[in-house]
């Protein structure tokens, strides 16, 4: 990536004094006040994230349902219109091309929301899949609209999010249940709002043009009821509730079985890319698994650090680690040999020159509180 990209809210972040840092090619806010304060704002009240860096692809056409089901692990044919589904796109080896949200407008129209770090790769992948002949020799009759550059997004998250969206933005949203969406109007223009998020709290994600997203951000800031939140706490929040981040717990070489995400892989639907290796691995049991680790010491396991067994053999690596903000302990997610993955297994993490004992625990360190 040659030139650093900016979201439509970049000026606002700088004016708020945010610590800015490159992420997935975008100059993004990491924190405004502190990661802890912003983390707690989302857990206890309401925070807003500029997530305009996320990518969007619209799939339309008479084969849209078959095509999305062909490239996506969850089953969109079983979804109702207005429903969001989480799942993954897999490569032929069963590795994860990306994890994504799919919005079903109707059987002929879907929105795919993809990770910023994977926009180019995903666009190429989806186009390749569209242009490849189907098993029956025909082709998928679908069209793609690559709309990442013209779509901005806010995530409004926390137990107060519903009231903030309704009262500050004037967008009725109490009627939305978890993982559903609707089209609404803001400033006379169409927007999309879903009851989704990446924090483990109740909340909403709103998509629109730059103009409406900037106006919403300004209204939220002026209200004083919603803390601006950066990518720093977005990561601590998702980590604590055991949600994966592409690049950490998911990569082209990690399968959904290894990542513990098989509930989002519908093996009983018609064939899809990556199905066979994943089905075989699920039946045989994976050789590696993503687990939670808890340390006794305060030293912090970070991405990439080695995980060792009792005999000091390297058995895996840390995928994400923090000093937990809601649980006052050093905790991590790690990809380890399956033989070391049982709860309670004593392991060690190498942190710089020393090794520290740890134990395998559930990777949900903090309980989600979604509104159903």
């Amino acid at each position: 990536m040659d030139e650093i990209l900016k979201t439509c809210l970049h000026d606002r972040h700088v004016a708020l004094g945010a610590l800015m840092s490159p992420f997935a090619g975008f100059d993004m806010p990491i924190q405004y006040s502190s990661i802890e304060e912003e983390h707690n704002a989302v857990r206890n009240a309401c925070g807003v994230f500029d997530v305009s860096h996320m990518g969007e692809i619209i799939v339309t056409g008479e084969d849209a349902t078959e095509f999305v089901n062909h490239i996506f692990t969850n089953d969109v044919s079983a979804a109702h219109d207005g429903q969001c589904l989480y799942g993954m796109m897999l490569n032929e080896r069963g590795g994860v091309v990306d994890d994504l949200l799919v919005y079903r407008f109707n059987a002929n129209r879907y929105l795919l929301v993809i990770n910023a770090s994977n926009i180019e790769k995903d666009e190429r992948w989806v186009q390749e899949q569209m242009n490849a002949p189907r098993s029956d020799g025909g082709f998928f009759r679908v069209d793609l609209e690559l709309v990442s550059e013209v779509t901005s997004e806010l995530a409004i998250q926390g137990p107060e999010a519903e009231r903030v969206v309704e009262e500050v933005l004037g967008i009725p949203c109490a009627d939305l249940t978890f993982y559903t969406f609707k089209e609404a109007v803001y400033g006379g223009q169409p927007i999309l709002i879903s009851r989704t998020g990446y924090t483990g709290e109740d909340g909403f994600e709103v998509y629109g043009r730059d103009e409406e997203i900037v106006a919403m951000w300004d209204a939220l800031m002026a209200s004083g009821r919603c803390a601006p939140c950066g990518l720093g706490c977005r990561d601590t929040l998702r980590f604590e509730v055991g949600l994966p981040l592409y690049g950490d717990e998911l990569t082209d070489d990690i399968t959904p079985v290894e990542a513990g995400l098989t509930m989002f892989v519908k093996l009983d639907k018609p064939a899809f890319v990556g199905r066979e290796p994943v089905a075989a691995q699920k039946a045989a049991g994976p050789e590696r698994k993503v687990v939670g680790l808890e340390l006794q010491d305060r030293a912090i396991p970070r991405h990439g650090y080695e995980v060792l067994d009792a005999d000091d053999n390297v058995v895996g690596h840390v995928t994400t680690g923090y000093h937990g903000l809601s649980v006052d302990k050093s905790i991590a997610m790690a990809l380890v040999d399956a033989r070391c993955a049982a709860l309670g297994t004593p392991l060690k993490v190498r942190i710089r020159r020393k090794t520290f004992p740890c134990v395998v625990v559930k990777k949900k360190f903090y309980k989600k509180s979604y509104k159903q």
Binding site: I30, Q31, S34, I35, R298, A299, R302, H323, L325, R352
Partner: protein, 119 residues
């Protein structure tokens, strides 16, 4: 005398001893400190080499020794209260060393030069 390194450590010199910590600029850049990984008494620091790390929520940063010397004391108060580094980084040093080569101080920046450096 206080001197600063380009990697934002300071050494406050008292006689044959130096107190090493991180600058106010460095603690602001880091954000809230949650852990300080310190050497042990008796360890030998080598100027320019890392001797530990300081961790914020977001990331770990190496601590680079501004001078060489033997560690004679570590600030164990930081084990239970790492945020002391944020509150007052100049008072809350990390290690105290016996300087093995005081001439190394000449290569470091004065407070005035460091203030220019971080502009």
């Amino acid at each position: 005398m206080i001197k600063f390194s380009e990697t934002h450590e300071y050494v406050r010199v008292e006689g044959e001893y130096g107190y090493i910590g991180i600058s106010d600029y460095a603690q602001k850049q880091l954000g809230n400190v949650v852990y300080v990984d310190m050497p042990e008494e008796g360890d030998e620091l080598e100027a320019g080499e890392d001797f530990g790390a300081i961790e914020s929520v977001k990331a770990a940063s190496d601590l680079i020794a501004p001078v060489s010397g033997e560690v004679v004391e570590v600030n164990t108060a930081l084990e239970s209260d790492p945020r002391a580094v944020n509150r007052d980084p100049m008072a809350n040093w990390i290690v105290k060393v016996r300087l093995s080569d005081p001439s190394q101080l000449d290569a470091l920046m004065s407070p005035e030069a460091y203030a220019e450096f971080i502009k």
